[in-house]
């Protein structure tokens, strides 16, 4: 068996809180993600989901524990890891092409090469017709697609998605979920997805990891009953509903977990 793409063991992370105390966001968290696996992280607000993603992405250092991506200890952001944030975070003064080419520009890739690559990933997300548009001319869904294209520009082996569709309306979100499945079929990257949506988690992921309320630790893992490739028809399947119910049960409070 190949080594895990991502391995976290005993990860603890605290933040300064009022009165000199420290808020424990994550404690004793263990997680392994296999290569090409899609894992969804779900949990109540404040369970440290985004913190967890930032630790994997090298944007935050853990206070204790070990973090490895592809066998290497993480000591900062890695260009083999693509990160898509909750907001698109596009540079408003650049057109879509230059935004998607931005990671390549920072990596000193030659202009011809980076533009060709940017067009390539824009085609993958169906946005090549908008290469010359400024971000503010695009809809919210298109902006988030551009952000995902940017995260794919360097051809990462690991893709970290921090609630990428949470600001979108339900219909757009469903469509982007399906596009994300297609994208994964094409790129076969390892994906860690933080989400608030139980349905989205079960629909997209091979495995849904449920975090406890603060301090966050993995309290349950629900494997997805769906095979690959998946499509729209799986969204209404009884298997998905059963797995969603299992996730909901693990979360404990259905009101808290939301959609």
């Amino acid at each position: 068996m190949s080594p895990p793409a991502i391995r976290l063991a005993g990860v603890r992370r605290t933040f300064p809180a009022t009165g000199g105390d420290r808020l424990v966001a994550l404690d004793g968290l263990d997680l392994e993600v296999a290569a090409n696996e899609v894992v969804a992280i779900i949990g109540p607000n404040g369970s440290g989901k985004s913190t967890l993603l930032r630790i994997i992405g090298g944007l935050l250092a853990p206070d204790a524990g070990t973090v490895e991506v592809e066998g290497r200890p993480v000591d900062g952001p890695d260009r083999a890891v693509g990160f898509a944030f909750q907001e698109p975070r596009l540079l408003p003064w650049r057109d879509v092409l230059a935004n998607v080419a931005y990671p390549l520009e920072l990596a000193d890739v030659a202009r011809n090469e980076r533009e060709a690559r940017a067009h390539e990933v824009l085609r993958m997300v169906g946005l090549d017709g908008f290469a010359g548009s400024r971000p503010h001319r695009l809809s919210g869904g298109m902006r988030q697609r551009a952000a995902i294209a940017r995260a794919l520009a360097l051809g990462p082996s690991v893709l970290l998605l921090d609630e990428p569709f949470s600001a979108l309306d339900a219909l757009t979100r469903e469509r982007l979920d399906i596009e994300l499945l297609d994208l994964w079929q094409q790129t076969a990257t390892t994906v860690v997805l933080v989400t608030h949506s139980i349905t989205e988690a079960v629909f997209l992921a091979d495995r849904t990891v449920v975090l406890s309320a603060r301090p966050g630790r993995a309290i349950a893992t629900v494997p997805s009953p769906l095979g690959r490739p998946r499509g729209l028809e799986d969204l209404g399947s009884p298997d998905l509903a059963a797995a969603a119910a299992a996730v909901r049960a693990a979360l404990g409070d259905p009101q808290e977990a939301g959609s």
Binding site: G76, P77, F83, F85, L91, L106, H136
Partner: protein
């Protein structure tokens, strides 16, 4: 509306109508008030004096000197403002040490210092460049500081996630983010530079529109010339402001 016709109707027409209303109101005040030309000359008198003073070279010489003072002072002050604003935004220590002096200096009206600056730097170009430079410095420094301090933290985190170097972050995120704020400071600075040059010339000068205004009022007793000089000052101010707006559109572009 589109194309050339749209531009004429949309931009030039309102400006022309505004000018006509202004000149008409001026004429009306002169007629109704019955003011003599040495108090308030009518638009036509000022217009013809403006034309003759440009034709015989009276205004051109003075205007060129004042324009030179404004432009040089503006460039010096803006560059210093950009640099100091950047350093303060970057370093908390520099902020703590320098900021009190900066605010104190700004609270002291530079114009009140004009006589002293003339004493130090002479009645020529240098003293006016110093006055204009000091006046432009503050708004540009503050707007640069604010622009750099308010860069979206999300974009900075994006840069970090992509392993951008310190220099790459500055060039691709911080400077473009700060530009709208910096250009706001430059707009304010450019109009203040005009004021600085004129008042500086009042405090002591060999040549310039400020001096011409004093001469026209005092020794020449030529009120129409005074108005013609004021008109020239105003045109310089509007022209320079217009240039900064054009530059601003060019560098900021379509951001939504």
């Amino acid at each position: 509306m589109s194309g050339r016709r749209g531009r004429v109707v949309g931009t030039i027409l309102p400006v022309a109508v505004g000018a006509i209303i202004f000149v008409g109101a001026w004429q009306l005040v002169v007629v109704i008030g019955g003011y003599p030309p040495y108090i308030l000359p009518d638009p036509l008198t000022v217009g013809s004096r403006f034309a003759s003073a440009w034709a015989d070279g009276t205004l051109a010489g003075h205007a060129l000197v004042t324009l030179q003072e404004i432009v040089l002072g503006f460039v010096v002050g803006a560059i210093a403002g950009l640099l100091v604003g950047y350093v303060i935004a970057r370093s908390r220590l520099v902020d703590l040490v320098v900021s009190p002096y900066l605010v104190a200096a700004q609270s002291t009206p530079v114009l009140a210092l004009a006589p002293l600056l003339i004493l130090w730097f002479g009645p020529g170009l240098l003293s006016k460049v110093v006055i204009c430079g000091l006046i432009v410095f503050f708004p540009v420094a503050i707007s640069t500081l604010v622009g750099l301090r308010t860069v979206d933290a999300g974009l900075l985190e994006l840069g970090r996630s992509l392993r951008a170097s310190r220099r790459q972050v500055l060039l691709t995120i911080e400077i473009p983010s700060a530009l709208p704020s910096v250009m706001g400071g430059i707009r304010v600075g450019v109009t203040l530079a005009v004021v600085g040059a004129i008042v500086g010339e009042w405090a002591g000068a060999d040549k310039g529109l400020g001096l011409l205004i004093l001469l026209a009022q005092g020794s020449l007793f030529d009120t129409p010339l005074l108005f013609a000089a004021l008109l020239t000052v105003a045109l310089i101010g509007v022209g320079l402001y217009g240039i900064t707006v054009l530059v601003e559109r060019r560098v900021i572009g379509d951001r939504g």
